[in-house]
């Protein structure tokens, strides 16, 4: 199988800035901070791959290594079969790095002038520039606003121009660092649709994006890599990652209101059966209780029986599928 991105035992450590005291005490000692430790994964061609992790997890470092902006310390990183250390210029020909920093454009030039400048730097011939600019601007929906100064663009437009710039050299792989950061909900939704529908499904591009947003990762990406403190915690489809938490361990039970002293009775059932109560919510007619059991596969009928015996009328009882957020919290130890 051919991969778009292959990373094998990637390690990156950054030297820490020394304090004056440390310079005097240990002039030759260099403390380092681990940004990535033995990370290995691969991304298939035409895949929408997500990097997920809290701040400082190493997502941006990983993306910048793929974009040849940072050199790895150890390990092998290949993009489109090319080594990022040995063939950086060829790698840059295969990728479009979406620099989402708004300041990465010339604010007093128009969108068109900005793209024209970057098109020349990407070796696009003079004859093709006009056609290529037309194409990418139409694709990101900015053709009408192409001749407005960049400073007058909204955040969403700036983000889309950034994607247009990355598409100029017609790369096979797009690398995006938090593309929906600082966008409003509508712009976020449109951009997500554009990434999935236009870039991945229609054009067959490989997209590797980082995000903090668990909903985005779960709904947009076909596979997710979770990084925490520079280490790879999980790399799989969202559903498989969710299955890392036993499905039956959380049971949700809906009871009809009607008997007195409800809370105490439920507490005593939980103590007796060693259930952990993770949620107790009283509504007008219903009580919703979430129980975490010690067994991986709890017999739901026995729970229903237990609550019925105590006088409750059980209207629903089902294993609750964990959200990616719950899995993520559990994985990173919160």
């Amino acid at each position: 199988m051919e991969y778009s991105i292959e990373v094998c035992n990637l390690t990156k450590k950054y030297p820490l800035v020394k304090r004056y005291r440390d310079i005097l005490r240990h002039p030759f000692k260099q403390e380092k901070m681990t940004a990535l430790q033995d990370v290995s994964f691969s991304v298939n061609k035409g895949e929408l791959f997500g990097l997920l992790g809290p701040n400082g997890a190493g997502k941006t470092t990983l993306l910048k290594i793929l974009a040849t902006l940072i050199l790895p310390d150890k390990g092998i990183v290949k993009v489109n079969g090319l080594d990022v250390e040995k063939q950086p210029s060829q790698v840059r020909r295969s990728i479009g790095f979406v620099v989402t920093e708004e300041r990465s454009f010339y604010w007093r030039l128009t969108g068109w002038q900005n793209l024209e400048f970057f098109a020349v730097l990407n070796n696009i011939g003079r004859k093709d520039i006009h056609k290529r600019l037309d194409k990418v601007l139409t694709l990101v929906g900015l053709r009408e606003d192409a001749h407005r100064m960049f400073k007058d663009y909204s955040s969403g437009m700036k983000q889309r121009l950034s994607i247009a710039r990355s598409l100029l050299p017609e790369p096979d792989i797009l690398i995006m660092d938090e593309p929906t950061r600082s966008l409003d909900p509508t712009a976020t939704k449109n951009l997500r649709e554009f990434i999935r529908e236009d870039l991945v499904l229609s054009q067959g591009k490989t997209v590797c994006l980082s995000t903090h947003n668990l909903y985005e990762a779960e709904n947009l990406c076909s596979r997710i890599l979770i990084l925490h403190k520079g280490r790879l915690i999980a790399c799989d489809t969202p559903n498989n990652i969710k299955s890392l938490l036993p499905l039956n361990s959380v049971i949700e039970i809906h009871l009809l209101q009607g008997i007195s002293n409800t809370k105490n009775i439920i507490d005593s059932i939980c103590t007796k059966k060693r259930y952990k109560q993770s949620k107790f919510k009283e509504e007008k007619q219903n009580i919703i209780v979430q129980l975490t059991t010690e067994e991986n596969s709890t017999d739901i009928s026995s729970i229903v029986e237990e609550f019925s015996r105590a006088g409750f009328q059980v209207t629903a009882c089902f294993p609750k599928e964990p959200t990616l957020e719950e899995v993520f919290d559990q994985i990173i130890g919160n």
Partner: protein, 267 residues
């Protein structure tokens, strides 16, 4: 070449978007010249011997000193300025992600500043001639251009070494600080080197600006031939041969170091 034009076009478009830049610039040239013109009124007629080799007049002497030294000092800052500017405006990362090598980016981005500097020199000299009555008798234009090119090569090399410091240490570049201060003090910009104590005159022989200003003044004010400028030309050629490869070596090491430390775009 196409890339160089793209950079030039970008810089012109950006500069033109600021409507008052040119006028501010012009005022910045004219006002100091007035100051030196009045100072020269004070000095002229005092028959200062150290000015004899340059035609006995102070204003043409200082006009050439200011015009050419400002260009040369500017060329010192070209590369580090381009890097710091792109780091601060946030465009450096986007530039590095293109299919253009870093040396090409730097050289292309510096063209606008080269032209701007050359236009400044011409403006200085034109204003001197038109408004202050400076006369250049039989000026050796070829000699002036040759010495200017050699001096800029030396200064650019030092500028590239300085840019290497900026890439790695971000601020506090000792090369730029030392070179500019020593050049300003010992290069003979405002006064002839011959008025300094002998030991300082000896040190000034190691400063490229001393030789370039000496050569340019000789060629513009006394019409010295290439043969008469041979000493200055020799010194500047030797310095260029030493400094240019050294600067490329330092710069390539600095890029690798910044990429390893992950600080290429930091400032």
């Amino acid at each position: 070449m196409i890339k160089a034009i793209a950079f030039l076009k970008r810089d012109i478009q950006e500069t033109l978007s600021y409507k008052l830049v040119f006028f501010g610039h012009l005022i910045g040239i004219v006002f100091p010249l007035f100051t030196f013109f009045f100072v020269s009124k004070l000095i002229d007629g005092s028959n200062i011997q150290s000015l004899t080799p340059y035609g006995n007049e102070y204003f043409p002497f200082v006009l050439i000193g200011i015009a050419f030294s400002s260009y040369m000092m500017l060329s010192l800052h070209f590369f580090s300025g381009i890097i710091v500017d792109a780091q601060r405006t946030g465009t450096l990362e986007a530039l590095f992600c293109t299919q253009t090598s870093l040396p090409t980016i730097l050289v292309s981005a510096s063209i606008f500043y080269f032209l701007e500097g050359a236009i400044n020199v011409i403006l200085y000299l034109l204003i001197g001639v038109i408004f202050f009555g400076v006369r250049f008798v039989n000026p050796n234009i070829v000699g002036t251009l040759l010495i200017s090119i050699l001096t800029i090569t030396c200064f650019l090399s030092v500028g590239i070494i300085s840019a290497s410091f900026v890439l790695v240490f971000k601020k506090g570049d000792p090369i730029m600080w030392l070179f500019s201060s020593i050049s300003g003090l010992l290069g003979g910009v405002m006064y002839p080197v011959s008025i300094m104590p002998v030991w300082l005159q000896k040190i000034s022989k190691f400063v490229p600006l001393t030789h370039s200003l000496e050569g340019i003044r000789k060629s513009l004010l006394t019409g010295a031939s290439i043969l008469e400028l041979i000493t200055e030309i020799k010194v500047l050629v030797i310095l260029s041969i030493i400094l240019l490869p050294l600067s490329f070596f330092f710069f390539s090491k600095a890029v690798i170091k910044a990429k390893k430390d992950g600080t290429l775009t930091h400032f």
